[in-house]
């Protein structure tokens, strides 16, 4: 009973906030609705017993990706009139993408219903192994059967990261005031002050 209520609550909020993400006029509001959708999707995952995936969804998407997204959108100065002018021009392309996504969704659900995918039955009987935690199951599978794919994904991400650094790295710019923390800490009072008696008109060397 409580599970059913929770499911309808989460599902309704996911759909409503998903719709509002594309309907909201203000881009910052859009991002915030998207975050609400992510968060409630995590709630749905908890209900089907995939708590590890739910937590990862919140940590990675809500906690890191969406923050950066919000960060960028907040600083943009978006011209709404210009955005709406582009709507007619991009409409056919948008429809094409939507049709492809719909076809994929229908095919996926069809394959699932026909039992062609090894995801368990539609009534959810072959869901997680009872008595073993989610994390252990995923870890055991990821580091044995899918080890190559897992490492390859890591490498691809590493390459992307190096690429981003190379693109933004500017090399040796003009000299700037740079703090050498090691030198500051190593400084002692004895060497900080020196008593000298310079010749008149000579000045001191610092």
């Amino acid at each position: 009973m409580i599970q059913l209520l929770a499911f309808y609550l989460f599902a309704a909020i996911v759909i409503a906030s998903g719709a509002l993400t594309i309907l909201a006029r203000n881009p910052v509001h859009s991002v915030l609705w998207l975050i609400l959708a992510f968060f409630n999707a995590a709630g749905l995952m908890v209900i089907i017993g995939a708590e590890f995936i739910a937590m990862l969804l919140v940590i990675v998407y809500v906690g890191a990706v969406a923050v950066l997204f919000l960060f960028v959108v907040m600083m943009l100065d978006i011209d709404f009139a210009e955005l709406r002018a582009g709507f007619v021009k991009n409409f056919p392309l948008g429809i094409a993408v939507a049709v492809v996504l719909l076809a994929e969704l229908v095919l996926g659900i069809g394959a699932y219903r026909a039992g062609a995918l090894e995801l368990g039955t539609p009534d959810g009987t072959a869901a997680p192994i009872v008595g073993e935690s989610n994390i252990e199951n995923i870890g055991a599978l990821l580091y044995t059967e899918y080890l190559f794919l897992f490492e390859a994904a890591g490498l691809i991400l590493l390459v992307a990261m190096v690429g981003a650094i190379v693109l933004t790295h500017r090399g040796n710019r003009a000299p700037r005031a740079h703090q050498n923390i090691g030198r500051q800490i190593a400084r002692r009072p004895e060497e900080a002050t020196v008593n000298t008696r310079p010749e008149v008109g000579q000045g001191v060397q610092l």
Partner: protein, 348 residues
């Protein structure tokens, strides 16, 4: 508690529901009281370190000062700036406050005394604490004012930076304990040091990670010396600049609830939570939750002490510490700890 309500003649689902609501109240109300007392303690500690008296007028020893402040704030008018985005402006403090309370659901106060004993407890805390930044960012943006906006951007960058190294520190602890469940992590610390001392901090390999975690938790909660989000010399009051009355008080309560949460995490992950410090029969005469509260308050004292004595970091120093010192160090330690555990056959 569910069993108790079932014995009153409710069916399982209702009993569970009522027990959970009762559990939430049992945690949230004492927590609010604790926050009020901790604000008082904080002010007294700073005052002592600055050779002042601190609050000493309202109630005996000034004990009721926080409640007087609360009442004052409650009776004030909530002012919404005309240029602000009204809805988001009012939601932001609510997000901060709610998120600060949510994380306490998985904190074990004694053996088995936990609202939600889930097996991803530590990940849940990481997830919830990463939500905390939204209150600040939304407040900064919705205020539609310069200083709050700067503060929001600083807060976003700061919290993301330090969450990375906190994540690696937690992995070290999880590797050693072999579980994400907070109760089980505490149990794994029983007699960890020579069969006598309870706590991971007394492990030579994990001690540096505790130091990293303590400093990172100050940065994560934006406490001094890392309080750049509300650096009064540069940003007026940061993201709170445009807030008044209760909306301001919610930020304040949320901030202190987060500080207490980080103190509790320090106690749970490295000092054995509700276990007594030494594995002696006589120390078990004192109930676990008292040990836990003593440890929380000890860490809170350290937080206050640091705040009263250490000057504020500059922003580039803060980023340098997070990305160039803590991140490589904690990454190295993950390799080191897992290598040690593999070599000694901990996982077999």
């Amino acid at each position: 508690m569910t069993a108790f309500f079932q014995s009153l003649g409710m069916n399982y689902e209702w009993a569970w529901f009522v027990a959970t609501v009762a559990g939430i109240l049992l945690i949230a109300l004492p927590l609010m009281l604790a926050v009020a007392m901790v604000i008082y303690a904080d002010r007294k500690i700073w005052a002592s370190m600055a050779l002042r008296r601190g609050p000493n007028v309202v109630g005996p020893f000034g004990l009721l000062q926080s409640f007087a402040d609360g009442l004052k704030v409650f009776l004030q008018e909530t002012i919404v700036p005309s240029a602000a985005n009204k809805g988001l402006f009012l939601i932001a403090p609510i997000i901060t406050f709610t998120v600060a309370l949510m994380a306490w659901a998985v904190i074990p106060f004694n053996a088995g005394a936990v609202l939600a004993d889930i097996n991803v407890g530590l990940l849940y805390i990481l997830a919830i604490s990463s939500l905390g930044v939204y209150g600040v960012v939304v407040a900064g943006w919705a205020s539609n004012s310069k200083y709050p906006f700067f503060s929001a951007m600083r807060a976003a960058a700061q919290m993301i930076s330090y969450e990375v190294s906190i994540g690696f520190v937690l992995i070290c602890v999880v590797l050693w304990a072999g579980t994400f469940n907070l109760n089980a992590i505490i149990e794994a610390q029983r007699g960890h040091g020579l069969g006598l001392v309870n706590g991971f901090a007394f492990n030579l390999l994990l001690f540096p990670m505790w130091v990293l975690f303590l400093i990172s938790s100050m940065a994560e909660t934006a406490r001094a010396p890392f309080d750049l989000t509300e650096a009064e010399s540069e940003l007026v009051a940061g993201y709170q600049t445009e807030y008044s009355s209760m909306s301001f008080a919610l930020f304040w309560l949320g901030e202190y609830a987060n500080v207490l949460l980080m103190c509790a995490l320090n106690a749970i992950l490295f000092f054995g939570g509700w276990l007594p410090p030494l594995e002696l029969e006589i120390l078990y005469w004192i109930p676990g939750w008292i040990w836990f509260f003593i440890k929380i308050f000890l860490f809170f004292f350290i937080f206050s002490w640091v705040r009263a004595t250490v000057p504020r970091f500059r922003y580039d120093q803060l980023m340098r510490l997070g990305w160039k010192v803590f991140l490589p160090l904690s990454l190295l330690w993950v390799v080191l700890v897992s290598g040690y555990l593999m070599a000694t056959g901990h996982f077999v």
